[in-house]
């Protein structure tokens, strides 16, 4: 698939750059060194909104606690203004940041294009635009230098309204875009949330309101081969790829009401699945650096955030107490929303201390040892957004 959007990189040099602590130019963001490529999980955020200006370059420690791991420390925050609006689904892998957005404000505020920002060169590219006349990007995720997303044909005005969808993937090193899967002709009320890692894309294909389950498919990005990984899976459409395993939710039995979803891990190259979580219903999976995290319970606030190292015989542990969820794991640290709806950083260790991100961000992504976020200024949100990135150090 050829690139559908034009390069925006040249225009970036003329953009006003909003510097905070640290450097304040496109080159400064380009100066970041990419960490080792790791699997990344999607952020769950919609279009941008007004926030405060970028805060100081260090995070604020939370309440003390003896014997607990220290809070991660945020390095200098590098910020700049991007000529995009309606940013959603911010995600990051290695030196690339991917997100859905519009080049100019759209009245429906539905993000219609996929962008990628190369932190090594500072170049922003519009990689792709929806192929549906009223389509938009409903989901995006990144891992191992690839970006995957779901193109949805139209906004659902009723939750059971069937819609057409397509799953796409882009090699961020070459900007090569491939169409991985499309919906059945009748469409589906549930659209997939694909994940990418280990050279493969995994997505769920919901089989309809009569079947009430989904097939899980895997697409090999090197060979283009597609195969059915799991048939008629009940439970959750949320997945993550980490350490050559697919982590997913599975409902061991069917009820009309809430099931007890288990977190399962299954080797992508074949082998038996094993149960990771213990006793509680779990949802909202995130995985990176050989670890997986989830939230309990499934519904209502607050959530309890759990994690497991995925090593044989490992035991799940509580990462964070009451929170609003939105857990995203990276290398040794994670981000989440606290009960006051603020993003925090925490080490991936039992009951570790946390620190606040320096501003209220509309969407946050993590990968390797970095955290990135988008916000928009109080004024001018119809024309641009503010992007920030910082390195995170764990002790």
């Amino acid at each position: 698939m050829a690139r559908l959007g034009g390069r925006l990189g040249a225009g970036l040099a003329a953009l006003a750059l909003a510097g905070s602590a640290g450097c304040s130019s496109a080159a400064s963001i380009a100066g970041h060194h990419p960490p080792a490529s790791t699997g990344s999980t999607p952020t769950r955020a919609g279009p941008p909104r007004s926030t405060e200006p970028a805060g100081p370059g260090t995070a604020t420690p939370s309440s003390p606690g003896a014997g607990r791991a220290a809070a991660p420390v945020l390095g200098a925050v590098r910020s700049r203004t991007e000529a995009v609006t309606d940013v959603a689904w911010l995600t990051m892998t290695g030196r690339w940041v991917g997100f859905a957005a519009n080049a100019r404000h759209h009245p429906e505020r539905l993000p219609r294009s996929i962008y990628d920002l190369d932190l090594a060169t500072g170049r922003l590219s519009r990689l792709w635009t929806t192929e549906y006349p009223h389509g938009f990007v409903q989901w995006a995720s990144a891992g191992d230098g690839w970006l995957v997303w779901t193109d949805q044909s139209v906004l659902q005005h009723a939750m059971t309204q069937p819609v057409q969808w397509a799953v796409w993937a882009a090699d961020l090193a070459t900007d090569r875009v491939v169409r991985v899967a499309v919906s059945r002709p009748a469409g589906s009320p549930v659209t997939p949330g694909p994940v990418v890692g280990d050279g493969r894309v995994v997505w769920d294909d919901y089989l309809g309101l009569r079947v009430r389950a989904a097939d899980v498919w895997v697409y090999n990005l090197r060979t283009g081969a597609r195969r059915l990984l799991m048939h008629r899976i009940a439970g959750g459409g949320q997945k993550a790829i980490v350490a050559h395993q697919l982590v997913y939710a599975l409902s061991p039995s069917a009820y009309l009401r809430k099931p007890e979803d288990w977190v399962m891990a299954r080797p992508l190259d074949g082998g038996l699945a094993r149960k990771v979580s213990r006793d509680s219903a779990a949802i909202d999976l995130s995985a990176a650096d050989g670890a997986v995290g989830w939230q309990e319970p499934i519904t209502g606030d607050p959530k309890r955030l759990m994690a497991d190292s995925l090593r044989p015989g490992s035991t799940p542990y509580r990462l964070v107490g009451p929170s609003l969820g939105h857990l995203e794991l990276a290398d040794g640290f994670a981000t989440y929303l606290d009960r006051q709806d603020r993003y925090r950083l925490v080490a991936v260790e039992p009951d570790a201390r946390s620190s606040l991100l320096p501003e209220s961000a509309r969407s946050v992504a993590v990968s390797g040892h970095r955290v990135a976020w988008f916000s928009i200024p109080q004024q001018g949100w119809r024309t641009h957004s503010s992007f920030s990135v910082a390195t995170v150090t764990t002790r």
Binding site: R49, H157, D204, L209, R212, A234, I283, D301, D341
Partner: protein, 109 residues
């Protein structure tokens, strides 16, 4: 039908209806602005049944139960249940923005 023009107007209506008149408020929302929808974007109506923190947060009873309908959790999870949502525009998400970006931009008071 009432169209709030800022977060204070929304809060005022919620406080008067739930505290003084003992009734919930139905709001048209764009769900991507509500934290418990995990970024999923759709048109929807929600019921606000109270407030806390002197009106800076509203209490939402989310009726949409993805598992009950689909027998399956979509990628955005399950928004069903009781939630507390910030009203103002200073946070990650906001009830006012959810209403303001909805098709009607209005609530039933």
């Amino acid at each position: 039908m009432y169209e709030p023009t800022d977060a204070a107007e929304l809060t005022s209506k919620v406080m008067s209806d739930t505290y003084m008149f003992n009734q919930g408020v139905i709001q048209n929302v764009d769900t991507s602005w509500l934290g418990f929808w995990n970024g999923h974007q759709t048109d929807h109506f929600d019921v606000v049944h109270g407030y806390t923190n002197y009106g800076s947060d509203v209490k939402i009873a989310e009726e949409w139960d993805s598992y009950f309908t689909f027998g399956y959790y979509p990628a955005y999870g399950d928004p069903y249940g009781k939630h507390t949502q910030q009203v103002t525009i200073s946070g990650h998400t906001g009830e006012f923005e959810a209403v303001h970006n909805s098709p009607t931009e209005r609530m039933v008071v």
